[in-house]
Symmetry: C2
Subunit: 656 residues, 2 copies
Amino acid sequence: MNNRLVTFLPAGVKVEVEPGTDLLTAAGKANIEIKAPCGGDGTCGKCAVRIKSGNVKARRDSHLATRIAEKGFNLACQTLVQDEDLVVEIPKTSSMSKHQVLGENASVGAGVSDALSNYLLHVWQLKELLLEQQKSPLNGYPLNPLCRRVRLTLPVANLQDNRDDLNRLTMALKKEIKCTDIHVPLSIIQKLGEILRVDQFKVTVLLSEVSGKVEIIAVEPGHGHQPLYGIAVDIGTTTVVAYLLDLEKGRVIDTAGTHNRQARFGDDVISRIVYAVEEPDGLKTVHQSIIGTINTLIMDLLVKQRHIKETDIRVMMTAGNTTMAHLFLGINPKFIRLEPYIPTANFYPVVKAQELGLRVNPDALVFSYASVASYVGGDIVSGTLFTGMGNEDAPISLLIDIGTNGEMVLGAGDWLVTCSCSAGPAFEGSGILFGMRAMHGAIERMQIDPQTYEVAYTTINNGKAIGICGSGLIDCLAKLKSTGIIDRAGKFQTSLPTERMRIGETGPEFVLVWREDTDINRDIVICEADVKNLLRAKGAVFAGIRTLLNVVGFELESIENIYVAGGFGNYLNIPDAIAIGLLPDIPVEKYKYVGNTSAKGACMALLSQEAWQEANNLAGKLTYIELSVGNLFMDEFISSLFIPHTDLTLFPNVGL
Amino acid sequence: MNNRLVTFLPAGVKVEVEPGTDLLTAAGKANIEIKAPCGGDGTCGKCAVRIKSGNVKARRDSHLATRIAEKGFNLACQTLVQDEDLVVEIPKTSSMSKHQVLGENASVGAGVSDALSNYLLHVWQLKELLLEQQKSPLNGYPLNPLCRRVRLTLPVANLQDNRDDLNRLTMALKKEIKCTDIHVPLSIIQKLGEILRVDQFKVTVLLSEVSGKVEIIAVEPGHGHQPLYGIAVDIGTTTVVAYLLDLEKGRVIDTAGTHNRQARFGDDVISRIVYAVEEPDGLKTVHQSIIGTINTLIMDLLVKQRHIKETDIRVMMTAGNTTMAHLFLGINPKFIRLEPYIPTANFYPVVKAQELGLRVNPDALVFSYASVASYVGGDIVSGTLFTGMGNEDAPISLLIDIGTNGEMVLGAGDWLVTCSCSAGPAFEGSGILFGMRAMHGAIERMQIDPQTYEVAYTTINNGKAIGICGSGLIDCLAKLKSTGIIDRAGKFQTSLPTERMRIGETGPEFVLVWREDTDINRDIVICEADVKNLLRAKGAVFAGIRTLLNVVGFELESIENIYVAGGFGNYLNIPDAIAIGLLPDIPVEKYKYVGNTSAKGACMALLSQEAWQEANNLAGKLTYIELSVGNLFMDEFISSLFIPHTDLTLFPNVGL
Ligand code: FES
Ligand SMILES: [Mg+2]
Ligand SMILES: [Mg+2]
């Protein structure tokens, strides 16, 4: 094999690949993540890279490839290594690095042109910008972690009391805790004899206890004070977020987030499933990709930065949509995408970290939140737990989680209905020319001067702008409409007296940031296709809400609380979200921006057995509504493709 | 590393080893088993080999090595490979190959000198030669195997009935069988979706069910008729015996036995423990050695000969002494041999075959019989189950298992006491100059003419004699005594008028077979040291019986049944065993020769859940008597070192 060396700039990472390998795959091998929302089909154009040296060949010709080539770029997914070594530069716009975790140290200010700053301060009313609710990680549940430490002093063995070591241990344990069943894995029994005798039959047992069933995780000599950590992970299709918890103190020590490395197999769950099912070793590759993502989070972001030992992490809790849960556990996801959309499992077995290759203590137990159906997963169950919607006295509430899919739950106490509305990942930046996730340099808030059409904006970390994230897109859409740049159907008014309005390659577009103010050396624009995508996404969410209400026979007015979850950025501008018809027109006071409820619910379950039991109850209690059955949803969807809606009586407070 | 090539004859097996390696270790690496009862200490002399070419070095000088060298042999354990390749011949007497399983096709006749055959027919009364009892493998229990097949036709999934696959399966299963708990391993869930759909939601589930807890072993498409096999294994210190069972028909298909390859670490459990604890990687080596032994049995003797697929073996049951159970599962046995003699575990977890590397279906479940204490193991529990001694209406009975250790159980129904008397492996041929296990060419019956001192004998398989096995040794000792060749204390009467009586290297000895009638080109003799060893062994067994009776306050006469188990050969000569004082002097009718009860009880447990439950009950019910506490046993032992005993009133029917 005559492998070639590919060097990726700016990181300088080198990797050897066979001639004929495409650069997207080569980057993947080098653990460098390049954006590829189309899954490497050569249709999204997000994977543009620049060849600094060496010759390459295009997989095939395409209009998109030619356009990109004119600008001096190549599509990584379509560009094949030939017989020379290569140096390849990955521009910031194509790179997925420097990911910004939702909820962390963003600030407002820089990147805003001086001329507009006064105006901004005047217009942005803090009351309409919902900050993420901050709560204790226990969220009302008692601290009673899934993994705990029991210190035992066993009677010392002698010729009279000559019970075997295992019996001695389990009998002492049964005195300490009520349980019907104690399971001790063989690997622990194998070394038990020595361990009991290191410190005269004094031992510390680490165990998990769920409904009276005890699983021993470790038996260690003496009555030590080693720390006891757990990790809660939200496995999002796009973003993976981990919380490191001190289980005994019930505290979050740190959080970290990164993009899901599976992104190179496509942006949505369907492309992941297709890859897993159709490629040779596809399932294994996609499975290992999410395990690798989580390991990176654990090692680079938590273990190394906090100087803790990975072996002190004894338990993990994951929550993710049904496809993510399947792929995480290596379960074939094939039938999730085929009618009648059956997941292989909704309740998942508890496994050991070493079975999955997770870089925590090899004997750590790994729990997975139960799913409800193929398109309502453990992340939504987790979110429902977090909101308390299933509690006995809960008022009628609505949880909307706008991630890659767009799921929602409506109900109160005993009854809870749920659906997934296939909103698509537009609010995560996918399918939007300059869309991006909530990362460094993303525009997260925006204002357009109704007279001059000047644009003011703030970016995450105050970096020079490189794109727009979810909250920026909501602002943008609302402002485009309120200033008359687009009409109710999303059509651009091309005759406006501003050079920002122009005809681009794909049709009318509006310049949000001029090239010189960006960090990507290109004008950041929004085009008509972007607006159409956003309308479809917001329309699907609103149609979902309407359908759920219809199924249970309630009106919008009955809803007491609306919990909005998802990765929009640090803030959610509720009036703007209402103005575009994404969220229902009810008083802003009823809204709560709850952030990543999937991760937060996972923390709760780790910290409290009671929470974990309730989570499993909820998974059984949630009634799934399949939107593809009947015409109800489709009719609602079509009516929702306008700003704010075809039926304006639904939005009495939105001025036109 | 400049390795040297060692070729072992007669097999011609070659192996590369480093200079400095001893030949016993080299043979082990080549999977050739050489006898080494002393564990390679250079003291037993059983590992003699002949160097055909190449130069070697002795580890150290010893009297034994010199004596062996004079005859042209070297001790394999003391002989080191030097800088040349070697050719080494292993004489039959040192080899452990061609092992004969207890209970298989032996015949009587050849090897007996013509002159004595009439006499033999006259003297051997068949009534005193107990044949092994033959029973159905179920032994009275209902056929209800630990692993069974359930054929299910699940409702086909559709948009209305869109339960997940796992739920669909477990709900259908719960309709079929009563159970509280169903555990499906992740490996099965991973592929479940496809499997259900191969034959339209028709599946065959293989499962094990123990006290309402179900463990799924496999889920396979369709309603096939593949066979369903199980393997029951008696893991003896010296011999390992396996039974291949058709679980659905409740039938034994085949049996096979071989020596325990651990023999190269020493003959008794203590030397195995010492090796496991003190050598680098010792536990792993000893563990893999027993796994290798069992794999050989399964593959060479069962799977290949019966043309069955190893993957059709779905469950295994093992029974062995406590040390064997520890080593089989890789559990550190260290504290078994240290006062107060505590095993790490008496009840063992069920594991998967792949965890241990057993060559059956990787998902097959492996059960291990529970032990009672460090020196009363699962083999005895299994034997107790087989005898039915724990049944409600059972009369007072005694089970004596004379293997490498010598354990016994006394009791009836509710009460059962048990002890281990450290008899040592003399009746398995160890520590006896020409002693050997019940294999091809072993003398198993013997008669000595009281006038001429001529010897008549039969051998296993009618092969030319190469040594004496357990039943032959009992006969031999009885006849030496009855013909006056030895006295009650085992002292040889050297003045007898026969050339068979002579003074050998170690003192007085009696020639049993002249060199020209053997297959080893040496006279087969029995010497005074042999007799002393046999006296110690038989004395320990009898002292154990007396001690147990004493502890519970019963007399010999109260015993209704004596079950004798162990590897003596095909027959057990009860009057001779009584005559030497090994077994109590009660009517022959009360004796039952039950053979390998450990293996038979393991079969019962595989074939019947009820039997397995009772086995676990028994393990809890057996009361262990530690003979090293107090003087009772030692006093009895010393009185038992005579033939038949110091107190002749105990043997009223034995003529002197
Ligand atoms: S065009 Fe290359 S990944 Fe989409
Ligand atoms: Mg999410
Ligand atoms: Mg035995």
